[in-house]
């Protein structure tokens, strides 16, 4: 509890607190804001709104370079339910919350088009965001030719995925402290300090160098402390700038859930062609993505979705992706954004194909896993060298083993002897493309030999600083006879946008390794500078020079003991693919729809792990977060798009009881690849996709139930995401008991042979 998060920073003297007032209307003029007379509303010091943005500033709350911006205040028109229309300022956070609840907002929809809320609405009104060409995914092969090679076709299959809330434990928070001379310091819980710096400065109309954003640690990010953290930072900054007093905000969970946006809901329609042996020949996908009101990071989603869909060799691939602009809160990156949906859609199609053929699903999967050649065809350069393609080995290890076969038989036996509980087992492979980004790093050796390290990445709990610390010790190891002691001398210090520039953002799973690489390069520079001094000391004394003596000598010799590097990835190696697979076995209660995960076995190719403890933590954490997405997290909204499952009483993330009863994880290493950072691989997001194995196993179990209880089309069905208890029960048949009783009575009367 000693670790200090943003809201743990002691409040500066005279600090004020803010709370958002959000619109509950998806598209309306905000005519007036009044406060119901109450004790709380007497505590309102002021309300900060769009008019308080300084001259020269602009109404901007977030924005990603080249993609577009989102307003800080819905002014004069609120464009979605949950949009900020003003910040109530009070002496305490509690008064601010209470007072914000007393706000009565008067709306008018006069002269406004009705809101566009769904993917269907958007398609009907041609309301889309454009994907810039450099972000557009690319089709593969000739779809018509592929279709013509098919023995069978499934046309117009459909599957839907809903949204997911980040549920970082620390809600959005920021503390802005105005400084002399139009400067401001913002303590932010964010994954992208640099963007906050830029957006805050644009909002206030001041130069970027007047804004210092400090991020020490983040109480959970998952993408939610990305674009979504800038609004609150801007809000605090505008208020602090206006009032000349520190302003801090720490959202209550409800407001956070209403404003956060979350994962992109998607709807995929597909037509797939395949041969009788299960070989896929062509896939066409019509994908609708609900992006919400602003572009945010949504233009990245189509490519991410397709990249993960491409884990199978579809033969030919074509798609039509519509990035829908709607009057709902902007959807943003949530851990594995697009990727998890793409990977799931691929599985949904494979399941469909397998059931259509009456074939074993895993066999269809295995058959359509890429060869090295097809991998290159689908992924281009990212496919990498042949020895690094480990997926087939992983899949075989899990799904083609004798153990798997015996487990599958055991499941079958179980289902035969159990009417009301059914089990399913399934293996899901994943591919996950990640991109490396330029990242800065700086290593400074202080007079006592202790080392301060700054990196572009932010510590979200993912162990980035830990890896950076290890890498620093690695980078300087040849200078220090006692290399273990070196590790204790390293401290990674908080992100400060004026100390280290071009910090970019932390996301996409590669920030740890790129931060490490920047630090390693800095260490190399220091090594070059210090080596001659070390040599001369050793020549004099004839013994290894202690680290402290080396640094003291270097200080005397006026050696520059600080080195900065801006690491840029090799243009020929900007992307690489991560591989893994998971087998999950579940048991469903046919009477209630409840699911129990009996066991999950994950195998993940983490390369030469920089820190297996950290990577294992990422793999397991991501998997469980994925389980929540696939099974239980229902980020429901009302008809206006206003989130209604807005707290822990209604929105259920996994608990201790949710995780697999037996949970085995193995990190394996594919071939060394010196193009990667010390041959390591990413671990932050890809394993989330493995949770689809639970979803697929549930389908297997449901399939068994449907077969037992003679539900229509027992094998061919789609199960959307999330597959909640109600969905499971419905797919098993809401009337299973009646059916059972009926079958008992009919069996007693006239035994009728089943057709």
């Amino acid at each position: 509890g000693e670790a200090m998060y943003v809201d743990d920073i002691p409040a500066p003297k005279d600090c004020l607190y803010g709370a958002f007032m959000y619109s509950t209307h998806p598209h309306a003029h905000v005519k007036s804001v009044n406060f119901r007379s109450s004790l709380a509303s007497e505590k309102v010091i002021t309300v900060i709104s769009a008019k308080d943005i300084p001259v020269g500033g602009k109404n901007v709350g977030s924005g990603f370079r080249m993609l577009g911006e989102e307003a800080l205040f819905g002014d004069p028109v609120s464009e979605f339910a949950g949009q900020n229309i003003g910040i109530v300022i009070a002496e305490t956070q509690k008064y601010a919350y209470m007072a914000a609840k007393q706000a009565v907002i008067d709306y008018s929809t006069e002269n406004l088009e009705p809101p566009i809320l769904t993917i269907e609405d958007a398609i009907q009104h041609n309301s889309y965001f454009q994907t810039p060409p450099f972000l557009a995914p690319r089709p593969v092969g000739d779809i018509d030719q592929g279709m013509s090679q098919a023995d069978h076709k499934i046309l117009s299959g459909e599957v839907k995925l809903e949204s997911q809330y980040y549920f970082y434990m620390e809600t959005q928070t920021a503390l802005a402290i105005p400084d002399e001379d139009n400067c401001i310091t913002v303590y932010s819980s964010t994954q992208l300090p640099e963007i906050i710096q830029n957006v805050v400065a644009d909002c206030l109309g001041i130069p970027y160098h007047n804004v210092r954003v400090i991020t020490r640690r983040v109480g959970g990010g998952f993408g939610g402390k990305g674009m979504k953290s800038t609004h609150i930072a801007c809000a605090c900054a505008v208020a602090a700038f206006k009032l000349r007093r520190p302003v801090r905000m720490y959202l209550d969970r409800k407001t956070d859930m209403i404003m956060a946006g979350g994962r992109h809901p998607m709807k995929a329609k597909y037509s797939v062609g395949f041969k009788s042996d299960g070989t896929l020949t062509a896939l066409h996908v019509d994908l609708g993505i609900n992006a919400g009101i602003s572009p945010d990071l949504s233009p990245f989603i189509p490519a991410a979705t397709i990249a993960c869909l491409n884990k199978y060799n579809w033969g030919a691939l074509a798609f039509d992706i519509k990035l829908c602009k709607t009057n709902v809160s902007s959807k943003s990156a949530v851990r594995a954004p697009g990727d998890v949906q793409g990977s799931f859609i691929a599985e949904a199609i494979i399941e469909h194909v397998a059931s259509a053929l009456g074939a074993d699903t895993n066999a269809v999967r295995r058959k359509n896993l890429h060869s090295v050649e097809s991998l290159t065809k689908f992924y281009g350069d990212a496919a990498g060298d042949a020895p690094t393609y480990s997926l087939i080995d992983i899949f075989d290890k899990l799904a083609s083993s004798p153990e798997y076969r015996s487990r599958a038989e055991a499941v079958e036996r179980f289902n035969g002897g159990s009417r009301w509980k059914k089990r399913g087992i399934s293996c899901v492979p994943i591919t996950y493309e990640v991109a490396l980004r330029p990242t800065p790093g700086k290593v400074s050796i202080l007079n006592d030999g202790s080392i301060a390290v700054e990196v572009g990445g932010v510590e979200l709990g993912q162990g980035l600083y830990t890896k950076v610390k290890q890498m620093t010790a690695f980078g300087l190891r040849e200078l220090c006879p006692d290399a273990d002691g070196l590790l204790d001398k390293v401290r990674v210090i908080q992100a400060d946008t004026l100390s280290l520039i071009q910090g970019s953002f932390t996301g996409g799973s590669t920030t740890s390794e790129s931060s490490c690489e920047a630090v390693r390069q800095s260490c190399t520079v220091l090594f070059e500078r210090l080596k001659p001094i070390k040599d001369s000391l050793e020549a004099k004394s004839g013994a290894a020079a202690p680290w402290s003596a080396l640094i003291a000598q270097a200080k005397m010799a006026s050696v520059n003991l600080s080195a900065h590097a801006y690491w840029k990835p090799d243009p020929a190696f900007v992307k690489y693919i991560n591989y893994g697979a998971a087998v999950s076995e579940v048991e469903i209660d046919v009477l209630t729809g409840a699911t129990t995960i009996m066991r999950s076995d994950l195998v993940y190719d983490c390369g030469q792990s920089l820190n297996p403890a950290v990577d294992l933590g990422q793999v397991e954490g991501a998997f469980v977060q994925g389980v929540g997405f696939f099974t239980n997290e229902d980020y429901a909204t009302n008809a206006d798009g206003l989130v209604v499952n807005d707290g822990t009483w209604t929105y259920k993330i996994p608990t201790v009881d949710t995780i697999p009863k037996q949970f085995n994880v193995e990190l394996i290493s594919s071939a060394r690849d010196k193009k990667r950072v010390l041959s390591s691989k990413a671990s932050g997001e890809p394993p989330l996709l493995l949770a689809a194995s639970v979803h697929c196993a549930m389908r297997e179990a449901i399939r068994a139930a449907r077969t037992d209880f003679s539900v229509n089309s027992p094998l061919t069905f789609q199960m959307d995401v999330p597959a909640t208890m109600a969905d499971v029960k419905e797919l098993c048949g809401l009337d299973v008991v009646e059916r059972h009783l009926q079958s008992l009575s009919s069996a007693a009367e006239v035994p009728t042979p089943v057709a």
Binding site: P10, P12, D14, V55, P246, N447, S548, A552
Partner: protein
């Protein structure tokens, strides 16, 4: 007011208390605890309980941190603010500069305080005073700057016409600056003086050789040349350029709108109430409105301190641990504010502020002519060098008399001029005593606990009566005297001779009380003033004014000789005065130099530089980066950093011994001091207690630089002022109070204090001996090759840095002390 049971009163003398009038309950209803002030136009109702606070602490607590704490004793002016009050008698508001560090908060009740934030800032626009100071390079470190701005601002607002340059320079006497050397400050403010406008309005005059004449210096300079010798493009010196009106708002570019904060109408119309308020530690603050009320209070609380400017009591409580339970502010008692011309002289109320007295004396002198006002003139001249503007604006005549400082500049004058003091007791009995008999001993005066000094009566001077003031201090402005004196002589004609009929010679700063040179006086009476008297007079003076070898203040021989010099000057002065009337032998020109009074014309000077511009900026006399923030008080120094809640404040426990073993450190009393949170000593240092100037390594005795210092003295103290520990408490005041209660016992060790002693004892820092020897010096001296050999010695003293901002640090631990954040005022 109720006297009530004794237990409820903080400081009540024993004995029966009789209320002179009114029933206790009725009287109580009159006292108000509602204290209202305005700060920068904002109404602020002060809560009860702040009687211990100074205005400065209050201002800084409410976030107006532009007003700085530089010394806390009224000596540096960094805390200068302007106070406005409404004079009911003249129906005018008055404005004057004061030191916020000494002003008790409640003493400002009913007044409007304008701080540096109240006159302009970088967002709304700078006040011309601020802008001038910034652009004329008058702000370097900026810590004194708000004080200078406010002194100048107060001068402008209190003057009906533009002040003269002399007035401007005089008004800054109470402001110290360590960076600029003052020239740019006076230059900056010179614009606001009434001057010869033609210098600025007419086209630049050309000197004979065609060079432009600089309007600021009157001498040829480069400042108006179109091109300089190197052919670089010209630009005006900033000091000239900025004479153009250019105050503007950084945000919207608007010109400064000249809008001054007005005196709040509420304070004009409001009925003034007698006040009774409380403070920390049982402090009580009374403000009676009538003499009756004052006397009533005095009868209840005979030990109560009467306060006007708090310039003495404030320093006593802040630095000398004095505690006064009851303070009575007499600023609103009209009877004590009399300023009247009467038959037998001037009646000066004891609460009259020195600045008021100055104005009054000027008026009287102008009206009455010099003959009757020789005393007045002497006092007026002495007042010019009495403290600084801010102190004279608040300190009172009576305060200076009753506090009875041995170095009071005025008391010798009151005594020598034959002034009398009117004293009133709690039963309304008035008695009169002559000033000469009033001072009984060190800070002891002829004033009983139930008496109050009412007024001073300064008699007119007669024809041929001469009064002269003397003061010698290290520094002319704002300094206390080494020796001062007041001398008066009356010469009358007897049998054709002009002889001394009455003489009074009083010296201050030479003993516990001002000393009258009685034997000298007796000797002089009846004598004709001539050189022949001097020898004997000097001998008698030495007897009259004996300065013991160990007299406080030191420099005994010097001060002794000063007493003689003063008398000699007086003798020459009177001789000269008589001579101008043809009544005495002439004074030769050479002797005139002894009595020429000190005059100081307005400072002039030239600053020359060439402008060679490189690129767009290098070489240009660009205004200091922080100047705008500094002149507006917006620049943040360490002490201005808003502190988080629960911040603790530390005060140092310092060694009082030069060299001693610490026997014990007893915190048993300090522990129970209010707000005490801890005492930290060398044993509490988690890392190394020993520090060197630069630490390369953590281990002791390694590395090229000596590690011989300690954070906290652990066993032996090696100098006076060495840090033994720190006391930490909830507030700065409480920390200081608690630190004073830490009792350190020492066993003294021999101390080496001077270079001589060190050499004698062979006490040197190890490995520091440096000898340079080139050729054979001894041989050279011995070989008679030198025509002459002289030996001599010269000494150089040390110097205090005297940065305006005292040492200051704010530290807070993060992640449970895994990381320490520190804001430090450090190089």
């Amino acid at each position: 007011l109720t006297c009530g049971p004794e237990s409820l009163r903080p400081a009540v003398a024993t004995g029966e208390v009789i209320l002179p009038m009114g029933s206790p309950t009725n009287a109580a209803a009159d006292w108000s605890d509602e204290a209202l002030i305005y700060v920068n136009g904002v109404r602020r109702l002060l809560p009860d309980g702040l009687a211990h606070l100074t205005l400065l602490r209050y201002l800084r607590d409410i976030g107006l941190r532009g007003t700085k704490l530089g010394c806390g004793e009224g000596g540096c002016g960094a805390c200068t603010v302007m106070v406005s009050c409404y004079d009911q008698s003249t129906k005018k508001s008055q404005h004057f500069a004061i030191n916020a560090c000494l002003a008790p908060l409640y003493s400002l009740e009913g007044m409007h305080i304008i701080t540096v934030e109240g006159i302009g800032n970088c967002r709304r626009g700078l006040h011309p005073v601020q802008e001038r100071l910034a652009e004329a390079h008058g702000s370097q470190c900026g810590f004194c700057t708000p004080g200078f701005v406010m002194s100048m601002y107060a001068l402008l607002r209190s003057s009906k016409q533009p002040p003269t340059k002399e007035q401007i320079e005089d008004s800054l006497a109470g402001n110290l600056c360590r960076c600029t050397g003052y020239r740019p400050i006076i230059d900056a403010f010179g614009v606001f003086a009434k001057t010869d406008d033609s210098l600025y309005t007419a086209s630049p005059s050309e000197s004979a050789n065609g060079k432009a004449i600089c309007p600021s210096t009157g001498k040829p300079c480069l400042c108006r040349n179109e091109t300089d010798v190197n052919g670089n493009e010209s630009s005006l010196l900033s000091s000239v350029k900025t004479y153009l009106p250019s105050s503007y708002n950084e945000i919207d570019g608007n010109a400064y709108n000249e809008k001054e904060l007005i005196f709040p109408p509420e304070l004009q119309l409001r009925k003034i109430m007698p006040l009774r308020l409380n403070g920390f530690n049982g402090v009580r603050w009374y403000r009676p409105l009538k003499l009756d009320q004052l006397l009533q209070l005095k009868s209840c609380y005979p030990e109560a301190k009467l306060i006007i400017g708090n310039s003495e009591v404030g320093v006593e409580t802040e630095f000398k641990n004095a505690q006064y339970g009851v303070m009575i502010s007499v600023t609103h008692v009209p009877e004590l504010h009399t300023l009247k011309v009467e038959e037998d002289g001037l009646r000066i109320g004891s609460a009259v502020r020195l600045a008021q007295l100055q104005d009054f004396l000027k008026k009287v002198i102008a009206e009455r002519g010099s003959l009757q006002t020789s005393s007045c003139q002497a006092i007026l001249r002495q007042l010019k060098w009495f403290a600084g503007t801010q102190i004279r604006n608040v300190a009172s005549v009576g305060g200076n008399i009753c506090t009875a400082s041995p170095i009071s500049d005025l008391n010798p004058l009151w005594m020598s001029t034959g002034a009398t003091f009117q004293i009133i007791d709690v039963n309304n009995n008035v008695r009169t005593t002559v000033a000469k008999d009033f001072f009984l001993g060190y800070r002891k005066v002829d004033l009983k606990d139930d008496e109050v000094l009412l007024s001073v009566i300064l008699p007119w001077t007669r024809p041929f009566e001469y009064v002269k003031e003397f003061k010698q201090a290290h520094r002319r402005q704002d300094d206390i005297a080494l020796v001062n004196a007041g001398m008066r002589v009356h010469i009358t004609e007897a049998e054709g001779n002009w002889i001394v009929s009455d003489v009074s010679i009083v010296y201050g700063g030479v003993a516990a009380v001002p000393l009258t040179a009685g034997k000298t006086e007796s000797f002089l009476v009846g004598k004709k003033l001539d050189y022949g008297l001097l020898d004997e007079a000097f001998n008698l003076l030495k007897e009259d004014i004996p300065l013991a070898e160990n007299a406080p203040g030191g420099m005994v021989e010097f001060r002794s000789s000063l007493t003689l010099s003063f008398f000699f000057k007086f003798f020459l002065y009177v001789t000269h005065e008589m001579n101008t009337k043809g009544l005495s032998e002439g004074l030769d020109v050479a002797n005139m130099s002894a009595i020429q009074s000190y005059t100081r014309p307005v400072t002039t000077g030239t600053q020359g530089y060439e402008l060679v511009r490189q690129g767009t900026a290098v070489g240009q006399p660009m205004v200091h980066l922080s100047a705008m923030l500094q002149v507006t008080g917006e620049a943040e120094y360490v002490g201005d950093t808003p502190t988080p809640p629960n911040t603790l404040h530390a005060a140092l426990v310092l060694s009082k011994e030069a060299h001693a073993r610490i026997l014990s450190i007893d915190d048993s009393v300090a522990k129970f001091s209010p707000g005490f949170a801890g005492l930290f000593l060398s044993k509490d240092v988690p890392g190394a207690n020993n520090i060197g100037p630069i630490r390369f390594l953590q281990k002791k005795n390694i590395g090229p630089i000596i590690h011989d210092g300690e954070v906290f003295a652990s066993d032996v103290v090696t100098c006076v002022g060495q840090i033994i520990g720190i006391v930490v408490a909830d507030t700065h005041d409480n920390a200081k109070a608690a630190a004073n209660k830490v009792n350190v016992k020492y066993s003294e060790l021999p101390a080496i204090l001077s270079i001589e002693e060190a050499i004698k004892a062979g006490s040197f820092h190890p490995h520091t001996t440096r000898c340079l020897s080139k050729g054979d010096v001894e041989l050279c001296f011995a070989s008679n090759t030198c025509d002459k050999v002289i030996e001599g010695e010269v000494q150089v003293g040390g110097q205090e840095h005297f940065y305006m901002e005292p040492q200051c640090t704010l530290v807070w631990p993060v992640d449970s002390g895994n990381e320490i954040h520190m804001i430090s005022s450090t190089q």
